[in-house]
Symmetry: C2
Subunit: 460 residues, 2 copies
């Protein structure tokens, strides 16, 4: 009966042998975890401008060569921000002792004067509350105390991250002495989570640090009792820009080599840890997909291009440089997929494309059914590929389980042990197959209607 049904069903539009080879290869003969380990245990932290970042570029070039891809380093000038001493404490007050605070500078923060800055703390929950302070913010430490924290649920990162990215700059415009931002974290054991904060050229800057969730709760409690003075000392600084690179590796298409399916991840990481889930995992997934596709007996119709971006974390110089350098062929980028959401197992396929895209892609997704990832759903996009939205490049995403992602993200706990090898292999299988499908299907996905660069950006 099953055999009869199979005879009655239309044949799939793809080669079942190739599907088995790609998915099976990732699951039974994969090197994604080994590659993630090389990038973390072998190289370690990879903040833009650091020796680790440069080592990662060389490592990636070498691995892609070994995998038989056509690879090159494309120049990117990156910022070189370095962390220094970092300390903060609540000063003693009438009726209570002082407290040391667990803090870490936000990337891009200037240093405090030697000895630190000491000021009264004012708590706000939003940029609107900050702006309502107006002149009262002058000389104060602005404490951004949002409420992101939903273990296992919707994280609220998208809503809270503008406070970290733009809050300190807005506080600086009001004459504040500094900024403390509650860590953007869904779990905490007193570990602060860093991340970029942005000051426009020529605009005022203030020292800005993340504080742990526990210390944010402490400040909140103490502020119920009376004024709170905090001393913040940061030794971070920005050195001259450094020459670095995106690593770009092609599996040239057999029929339409000028049409490109782009697979993105980023080589750089924050400096507090090894950058395992952010984004050694994505690098390993993208490399694995390209490696498996390159090993096929016949290359797909279009070019599959793996791009390992530099400087995703604190400037997006790599993403901007790629879009600029490849503007003339951006119209021939038929799809882009960014892998920058950790090492969780695949859940669904996200799509940001023109009308009819789902119908085109759907018949190709059956090989992902047993992985539980054959349905459409969720977001697609990414910080590195964000600039390509201006060119109406369709974005495709392999959505992953991110329920623990913000427990570790941008913190000292982003270490290799957080990667479950089987989950990583499943995501690599899904990305390999989706990339192949996009490069092999007869038609290309219709392009989205309008560039919506903001909506297309990733969560960083």
């Amino acid at each position: 009966m099953l055999a009869l049904l199979a005879l009655l069903a239309p044949p799939p539009p793809y080669s079942p042998e190739i599907a088995a080879r790609l998915v099976g290869g990732a699951l039974t003969d994969g090197v994604a975890y080994v590659r993630a380990a090389q990038l973390t245990d072998g190289i370690g932290a990879r903040l833009s401008g650091s020796a680790g970042a440069e080592a990662a570029v060389q490592w990636a070039l070498q691995r892609f060569r070994e995998d038989g891809l056509s690879v090159r380093a494309e120049p990117v000038k990156v910022p070189h921000w370095v962390r220094g001493e970092e300390r903060a404490e609540v000063l003693p007050a009438r009726g209570r002792s002082g407290h040391s605070l667990a803090v870490t500078a936000l990337g891009g923060s200037p240093a405090t004067p030697v000895g630190g800055v000491t000021a009264e703390v004012i708590e706000v929950r939003s940029l609107a509350e900050l702006h309502a302070l107006a002149g009262k913010a002058r000389g104060k430490l602005i404490f951004f105390d949002h409420s992101m924290s939903t273990p296992g649920g919707k994280t609220g990162y998208g809503e809270a991250s503008p406070l970290r990215n733009h809050g300190p700059a807005e506080a600086a415009k009001l004459g504040a002495a500094g900024a403390l931002v509650r860590s953007l974290a869904t779990a905490s054991l007193r570990d602060p989570h860093t991340g970029a904060t942005t000051f426009e050229d020529g605009a005022p800057q203030v020292p800005a640090a993340a504080i742990s969730v526990e210390d944010a709760a402490l400040l909140h409690r103490l502020l119920q009792q009376g004024p709170v003075q905090v001393r913040l000392a940061l030794g971070c600084r920005t050195l001259p820009d450094v020459d670095s690179a995106n690593v770009v590796a092609d599996v040239p298409g057999r029929e339409k080599p000028e049409e490109v399916v782009l697979l993105a991840a980023h080589l750089d990481s924050w400096d507090l840890a090894q950058g395992a889930i952010d984004d050694a995992a994505g690098v390993a997934v993208v490399m694995e997909a390209a490696r498996l596709i390159a090993r096929l007996p016949q290359r797909p119709r279009r070019t599959v291009r793996a791009v390992l971006f530099m400087n995703e974390e604190n400037g997006l110089a790599g993403g901007k440089a790629y879009a600029q350098a490849h503007a003339s062929e951006a119209e021939r980028h038929v799809a882009a997929l960014e892998s920058d959401a950790g090492a969780g197992r695949p859940l669904s396929i996200g799509l940001r494309a023109g009308e009819g895209a789902q119908a085109l892609l759907a018949p190709w997704l059956a090989p992902l059914e047993t992985l539980g990832a054959a349905d459409f759903g969720g977001e697609s996009g990414g910080a590195d590929i964000g600039p390509l939205a201006a060119f109406r490049v369709p974005f495709v995403g392999v959505q992953q389980d991110v329920s623990r992602y913000f427990d570790y993200h941008h913190s000292a706990a982003d270490t290799l042990d957080k990667i479950v090898p089987a989950d990583l292999a499943q995501t690599a299988a899904a990305v390999a197959w989706v990339a192949y499908a996009l490069a092999e299907m007869p038609q290309v996905l219709p392009r989205p209607a309008a560039p919506a660069a903001r909506a297309a950006g990733g969560q960083k």
Copy 2:
């Protein structure tokens, strides 16, 4: 019908009015959480010998006086160990970079030489594996890599803690250069957990530090690949002993004031955080029980004595001093209960006493039924009351939910936010009622057959 059953049932051996007053008082009009906040947010860390520990003694004396108890400070000489700089790193090796390690000195550790000690790491999983090394341990950093880690389940703390307590001393006897101990933790975000390590007088000592669970996993992985060199730098040191105190507060018995029901907790904490669950929670519970009993219109038959011990964490000087100073009345200590297992809700009543004790106490436990804590089960004992086992004092315990306890224990994350006020109030209610029952019941519990000091000791 229910009224008829009630008429047929034997009357309870206790006054229902007093049960309602104690349990209801803790649940509706309690100050346990407020007291825990005063000890943590108000005073902060309280390691023996520190200003915080001294402030805690003064605070406790004042609070007990306000509560109308007969209170005194009993002298205890305590060690004064202070933390200094602490850093560790895996040195780079062929084919891989170096890594910084998240470490914290174990209490009692000596300092390293300035600049640290650099040595090859040897991994062991037990004291037996250490001893099997014999001469191979000389000059090495011994890495104790046990496997405690069962979130929400049995923690394994009792099995693993001897590695931390005695492993470094044993390594020192073999000529090791130092010791690294995997943190005794059931959850980790790269935060090391400290704790005491013990060197006998005159025996060799080595610098000893806890490393985070993640860093233990890193060392384990790197050791699979080849030799690993670590540099460990600790600035901790032991200063001269300091005069401190246990705080002892009585609600004198109305009929048999010479018979004592002892309620114990400890004022001191580790220095990495506020010591909220270890043991501000226990202090608050014991104070609350004593306060509620002292407010009754009629005091119970026997004396209820709250003892807030000093130096539970790194020496047990307070527990030893109390047992010595009160040896002559130890026979008249009819029960001892230690509250040093965090702030979780009450689950059951533990008993370590002579035959027939359960039968005597059982009829008194009905008021705890709706709290879910009226059944017997689990351990009883405690580090501070441990020395009283030599006098065959019956130990009674209000067992609590400790499923998250070792997530935070002895780490920087032991902060007030980990205390759920409702859970703390329920445990205070249970302890108040059990203490009252022990002080009011006509008979006393039969004493346990033999002193088993070791079994009676708490987990520290």
